[in-house]
Symmetry: C2
Subunit: 95 residues, 2 copies
Amino acid sequence: MHIHDFQEMMRQLFFKRDAERGIKGTYDWLVDEVQELGEELKGNNKEATEKEFADVIAWLSSLANLTGIDLEKAAINKYNFKCPKCQQSPCKCTF
Amino acid sequence: MHIHDFQEMMRQLFFKRDAERGIKGTYDWLVDEVQELGEELKGNNKEATEKEFADVIAWLSSLANLTGIDLEKAAINKYNFKCPKCQQSPCKCTF
């Protein structure tokens, strides 16, 4: 599935609730999901970890919907088969 | 671009450095990127905000590479055109 299509699925499913919650509340929820991912990464439960990865990209997509940003375009604009810093593939940054 | 292909691009560009840094270090970097996104969301610079969205999905993909998880599969398994809690589209959860 394209990043864009996943973001559109999130819009279809959750935009009304996301809009009621607002950008700040949705961002705070994203932060919570990232923390939950961090907790799962300390363990050994791959299925639970996969669900936390899913939640992070889901909430990131919801937040992108609220801010009018196309996550796929943003991602490809910055990361387009080369490192945005050293401009090489693979990255050869020395720091 | 498919979520899977973006993750593979991140692998091609950054896996060597990501592996050297490890899961904990890469997770910490993801957290930093989420914080930077939060700061940009307070402002009014759409281009800068897009770059922060790009960074979050990029570091999330790097982290998925390190943990052997397919971000696209994980996302679709949990969010497959219905809310994972109420099982409806659009979501009709009441909390």
